[in-house]
Symmetry: C2
């Protein structure tokens, strides 16, 4: 199809399509003449993916570009992981990865993963990020690293098993798999964290016996 048809069928304005091509989010069409190029079904699917990542996941064009470029560069069996890893997360406290704290944290993360038979590379970005966060936790709370990790690993495994059902083929249709994996990771993160805060409140009240006040609930939410 011509670019005008791509625009009509995707609902994405022509200048925006050209912008996505310039920014590397969308591959250029196959040239068929001096000012003409041919676009395929895959371009249509990629546009739909870009819009979903922008409108549904709330990602910036720069973040989408980094994520898709990482997926395009990765070996086929790692493209989902690469796309997800490329989405930047809040930095949190600084951790020097050359310190003993970081090495100890990384060993603890890998040890809990290996004891469960998780097939994850030592050099994976998620392992690095988990170790980085854990290094700060160890520094602040000094817990016994090996035992206190177990319930977290159990909890995320039950979540991941629920999310990735038997028979799911990540290689079925790359753009659809990317949409599912990136949206599924990004959209559920704030949900899981907010649910954990709810559970904290409920659990604290259960343990301490301090309950909510009688009378109409007062919203502490800022406008």
């Amino acid at each position: 199809m011509k670019v005008s048809e791509l625009s009509a069928r995707s609902g994405v304005p022509l200048p925006t399509i050209k912008f996505y091509i310039r920014e590397g989010l969308l591959p250029a069409g196959a040239r068929t003449g001096k000012n003409q190029a041919e676009y395929s079904q895959e371009h249509l699917e990629r546009l739909s993916l870009i819009r979903a990542l922008r409108d549904e996941a709330g990602l910036s064009v720069a973040a989408i570009g980094r994520s898709l470029a990482a997926a395009d560069r990765a070996e086929p069996e790692h493209f989902l992981e690469a796309a997800i890893d490329a989405i930047e997360r809040p930095a949190g406290a600084a951790v020097d990865v050359r310190t003993a704290d970081f090495r100890k944290a990384k060993e603890a993360v890998l040890s809990v993963a290996r004891s469960r038979g998780w097939d994850v590379e030592d050099a994976a970005a998620a392992v690095h990020d988990a170790a980085r966060a854990l290094a700060v936790i160890l520094r602040s709370f000094h817990p016994d690293a090996t035992s206190f990790l177990e319930p977290y690993a159990d909890a995320v495994w039950s979540i991941a098993s629920h999310e990735i059902q038997e028979g799911w083929r990540p290689d079925a249709a790359p753009n659809a798999a990317l949409r599912f994996a990136v949206l599924g990771t990004v959209l559920f993160e704030p949900f899981i964290l907010a649910l954990r805060r709810m559970a904290h409140v409920a659990r604290t009240r259960q343990v301490t016996g301090v309950t909510k006040k009688a009378g109409p609930a007062k919203s502490r939410r800022k406008a």
Copy 2:
């Protein structure tokens, strides 16, 4: 103690202490003369809390100020919740809270909480945040809201129960409780999310039979 002693004992420079007082993070001392004020043990503890939130949780002075002000304003039994709720989180996709999507999401969140006997106010910020995230999920994935939430609620409850042990008294020493609650919430968030990404990779490989490549692991981590 005089402010000079407060500075010496806390290790926080005098100009920084004055800055924290101006910004409302630290209460002013009790005036004892024209240019003199008396500081207490509580000032020392508060300074230690501020430094922990800055250095360990990586929070900005503005974020610490908002969190502590919310805790100071709250009713005593809600001060921890207020401090945690006041820490801003990544916004994600925009959700209009007046829409049917949001109302449906909030009902689903409250229903899963109530079915487990969680004592949480309808107007709590965590409920609002969970509903906001869920509204985007429903819009993007259209799942059956009531049933797919259960494994998430089970997982966060097991995490919260692990984190909030029997006998923990959130009212023991306010500054210590704040440090534990805020750091415990904030520091573990990136850890749990990274661990979930690891579990995704491992679970996907288990389900699809696609495993990691042989040969030396290649780091995809950017320098």
